[in-house]
Symmetry: C2
Subunit: 397 residues, 2 copies
Amino acid sequence: MDRYLVISSDGHVGLPPERYRTYLESQYHAAFDEAIEREIRMREEHEKRFLIDDFNTKWRARVGDGLEGAWDGTIRNRVLDQDGVAAEVLFPDGITERNAPPFGADIGLKPFGTRPELQWAGARAHNRWLAEFCIEDPARRIGLAVIPALYDLDETLKEIRWAHEHGLKGVFFPSITDGYDMYNHTKYYPVWDLLQQTKMPLHFHSGGAPAYDTTQPGWIGTYLCEFAFWMTRPLWSMTFGGVFEEYPQLKVLFTEAGGEFWFPWVMQLMDIRASAKHTSGKLGDYNANMTMKPSDYFARNVWVGCSALPDEETTESYYQIGIDRILWGTDYPHPEGTWPSTLEKMVLSLGGLPEADIQKMLGGNALDVYDVDHDALAEIAARIGPAKSHFYKQAAE
Amino acid sequence: MDRYLVISSDGHVGLPPERYRTYLESQYHAAFDEAIEREIRMREEHEKRFLIDDFNTKWRARVGDGLEGAWDGTIRNRVLDQDGVAAEVLFPDGITERNAPPFGADIGLKPFGTRPELQWAGARAHNRWLAEFCIEDPARRIGLAVIPALYDLDETLKEIRWAHEHGLKGVFFPSITDGYDMYNHTKYYPVWDLLQQTKMPLHFHSGGAPAYDTTQPGWIGTYLCEFAFWMTRPLWSMTFGGVFEEYPQLKVLFTEAGGEFWFPWVMQLMDIRASAKHTSGKLGDYNANMTMKPSDYFARNVWVGCSALPDEETTESYYQIGIDRILWGTDYPHPEGTWPSTLEKMVLSLGGLPEADIQKMLGGNALDVYDVDHDALAEIAARIGPAKSHFYKQAAE
């Protein structure tokens, strides 16, 4: 084949806020009607401070109705065809059009500032809409169920089973666990067991963070220095907790750390902290749950969703992490992603690398991670995938 | 001089718990009497889980009455003489003998699990004892006032003034700010101003952390992957908040990150996050408070207290951080420190490096940071400092 199969590891979908009502169980309609205007207003306020208004206005003008691909399948497929993307992993939240699930069941999925029962209701509403959206084009849409897993294990197990039976291909969990049990707690074992059995990969995505005081100087820089940490806490708590030792087929993905330099550091940090030294004698045998080095579990159980930044250091870090761990992504329809200049940025990131490596990062590794239809994807890629020649022209010039 | 001047950046002192009563204002005696047995019991419990009992018993047997140097000046000076250390920066908490200030005014200095008024009372009790302890031998004892700065700015300013007038040479602040304002908040400006005026360096020390569930597997590994992060949050919040821009003479130290690989990462992380890219366009001008790169402020305002780990990677990282930023330390009397084999470990860490670099790290940089008596220290070093020849014999072999 003269084209690459591209499976984006980082796509975002969600209805315009008011349209989630239809998918919400009727006992939550009153709460929804009461909350919806406040939620929209909060997002508008947030946008004023964080996602600068002016930037968004220009962004909308530039990309036209492409933002509506967050919920409109026809527009989405048109964008994917233009972008050369055969399929996508679908997280919640279109951001610019504020199309996130209600009641805090969004990409932050925080366990504070919301009520567990309502967050669950919002998650189920999103999952039910998403299942419909994915069934429209099951080969191209790898939907992730939003699972607020911290509150109620029975509900968690039930929703994972529902998602699996309804064609969703993985789950998205909160990375912020404040006030609840971290993922090294043994109570989560039945969850890991079910994910392993159903071959549903577990995803964490940047976005969740504690509340910052947005009236103070430096809060954004502080957030930028910390967001990858907040996302990655489940990695070391699960690793040192022995989760990957107990569940060797469990698959975990960490998506959009904002530059992949983060993961080589984290792998090294875990290995250093796991190596017994004079300094840790007072700590006892805290590695008893592991038979391998943390980075060895990483190489077996963990993948990194790379929302591609076209710079050399990022590409170099792909090799430090391991080429078979990297799942490239566009982050469509977020403004920090590659769309609508995906091919150009793809070539900037990956152009000139060995063909086999590019194939793995763009789509081959995703085929290993997800339970998807290889033949159907190959057909789509043959039609719209980026020509391999693009990646070598530049290197030859 | 044929000997090095050694100023340890990391020493710990504290009374046996029951002896803090004398230094506590009388209105807190009833609370102290009610709390003291519970606090001692909690430390014993903690020791059973974290600072393994068996390890501590062996440690006590090995080092004899040396642990009593945590509060006994005669023993402390004897240990320092044997260790070749002329002077020390003094943080609270002897650990093994549980000699920490009461009411949570300890090295964790956490803003939860204690009452602000009581934590302040415990801190003042420690500071009053410490001022007495330092006045016994002012050249050798660089005492740090414990300041629970999050609750009450007037009390903070008052206590810094008291500490400065009573011979203490710097302050130790909580690094965990959960539930209170982070250090980018402009309300702290008068504090930075006073510290700059009085030339009192500000210290953060590892130890503070959120509560982990100590019944679950992997919690120690999780803590080990996170403790340096918890300590370092003030660095980027102050940097991006513009504190070093506003207070160019403010001096901040971060002590005992457990392997100095951490700081080159953090400097790089801050610089990457500060560099405007396509991805951050939606964030607006979040660098408006800085006229330099974060790592440039680091090179001017920040020092690292290195509780020496004798391995090559750590020594290499000293050069990445900058030799003039490094303050070597023994961590006496903590078991993870170099005592009682300080000279041997010093030589393992630094042996063979250029003499001028060794001098900076062992003591020269500390002379820049602290308001100390250079002549008195030179005299002590000439008597007990480690012979420079030790550091080159090994390299020549």
